[in-house]
Amino acid sequence: MEKMNKPLTKNIRPDRAFATLADYESTGGYQGLRKAITGLQPKDVQQWVKDAGLRGRGGSGFNAGLKWSLVPMDANVPQTRYLIANADEMEPGTFKDRMLMEQDPHQLIEGMIIAAYAIQANTAYIFLRGEYHLARRRLAYALLEARSKGYLGEQVLNSAFSMEIVLHTSAGRYICGEETALLNALEGKRATPRAKPPFPLVTGLWGKPTIVNNVETLCNVPHILHYGVEWYQGLGRGVDKGTKLFGASGRVKYPGLWELPMGIPIREVIEKYAGGMRDGYKLRGFLPGGASTDFLLPEHLDVVLDYEAVAKAGSRLGTGTIIVLDDQTCPVQMVLNLEQFFAQESCGWCTPCRDGLPWTVTLLKDILAGKGRIEDLDTLAGLTRMLAPGNTFCALAPGAMEPLQSALKYFRDDFERYIVGSHAIMEPA
């Protein structure tokens, strides 16, 4: 029964080979779908996932079943609905969805079929990152396998429900991961975000109700249906339910990815699973869930990986993949690298982001080149407020400000060290 504690990775093998349909079925694969489609109404499936407490694994943390339950499904509304798997993994430091798709593609496919059944969508898209070539080949193969066994296509498992999954490969832009920008990308347009409301679940792809779920979120769904709500709730160690893929990268001994219970302390991930810091390096801080999350410090190691607990510590769970800052990497240079990424990937649609991010990069470059003034730090702090939530169309710029604002708070000395004479200015004459 050991494997039951790790539903998401039970088919993941050390040799990086992938689970074929036969492999997948041999460990209980497609049983969740069978149960849903032969025994449960769509509303029941929504309720199961809602009760299980599965929250969005792409960083939002929104209850997935609740999201599905908000899709208009009365008889008197248009009956075309879409489901989209957001497989546009591009958050720097994040490498979880790639593994799920490359090594157990049927898990995602089954999750998508169940989700589509729950909202009665007959067409679903996998919006896959263009760079994920191996995932594309393996998903395409798995889709053929699923079709040949009647899990996909006309009358799924001889039921009245029919559905198709289309594999769409993107052409690379971080903003495509934002759900409304993703819709524009899928419609063949520039991936600029849309104003909300209306929310995609009411007015989405081609104006139809559309649910966008992260790959890892969907991968949880088959197991909730197969093993039940109570079992799923029992997997978490803290407040949040289920397991999650947590990772660590940077100068740790064993960078990697592990399926662990929600609510596990950050210390356990970094010290036990990642083996602590490489010899000769000390832990200076870390981004707990990708590039767009606030820095935390060694004093936060005992914070547990639950959505609210990480938020209370001043950051976000995000994607759950920890980027480790060591004592020999300059935090100012690291922040510059992050802001260059965000400035480059800004879609340019709204002014605070389009102008504010390059301005941030310019200021950081000047500071690092010894041309900074102490007032620049106030300007940077001002930008973190100007590019805050509510001032921009989407979460890209506010996300970009998270590592910056926390770096200014925790690593201010490092910034000041580059500013010539700043210490002298602050000292009494």
Binding site: P92, F95, A171, G172, G188, A248, L257, N337, E345
Partner: protein, 159 residues
């Protein structure tokens, strides 16, 4: 270099692009796939190709150009047979992607985005390739290369 005469999209390209249209509510939605199909055969998207694809999809060339210039993996100028995308995002940067880029560029004697004189390679930066536990990494053509070291030139081009 002699300018090649554009003789329109090939039957294979047109067939593949048309096949994609069945997956979407309208033809314009195929824009990105269509550009990628053209690129598969020609490595990059010339003005002539862009206009021909726009005509095929019943959209204006300007509309398609807006799309073509938005996405990182659509090339609007010639690239080498194999494009090497080295990751320059945070973990790879921390573990030496700048030095890897320098070594690769020096080896081929090219700047970023340029084609090597033999037409074989172009080097471009790319955002996080989602393999941070094996940083630094690069994508050579379609293939991911993990755990690059200071011998990245050998690791990528062989001995």
């Amino acid at each position: 270099m002699k300018k090649q005469v554009f003789e329109g999209l090939s039957p294979a390209e047109i067939k593949e692009i048309n096949a994609e249209t069945s997956h979407y509510e309208d033809k314009a939605a195929v824009s990105i796939e269509a550009l990628k199909i053209v690129q598969k055969y020609r490595r990059w998207v010339s003005d002539d190709c862009l206009i021909a694809v726009a005509e095929l999809l019943d959209i204006s060339p300007t509309q398609l150009e807006a799309v073509a210039t938005f996405y990182n993996l659509i090339y609007r100028q010639p690239v080498g047979k194999t494009v090497i995308h080295y990751c320059n995002s945070v973990t790879c940067w921390m573990l030496g992607s700048d030095q890897i880029q320098e070594r690769l560029c020096r080896h081929l004697n090219v700047g970023l985005g340029e084609m090597s004189t033999d037409g074989e390679y172009t080097i471009l930066p790319i955002v996080c390739l989602g393999a941070c536990d094996h940083a630094p990494v690069a994508m050579v053509g379609d293939e991911l290369r993990l755990d690059l070291t200071e011998n990245a030139v050998n690791e990528i081009f062989g001995r």
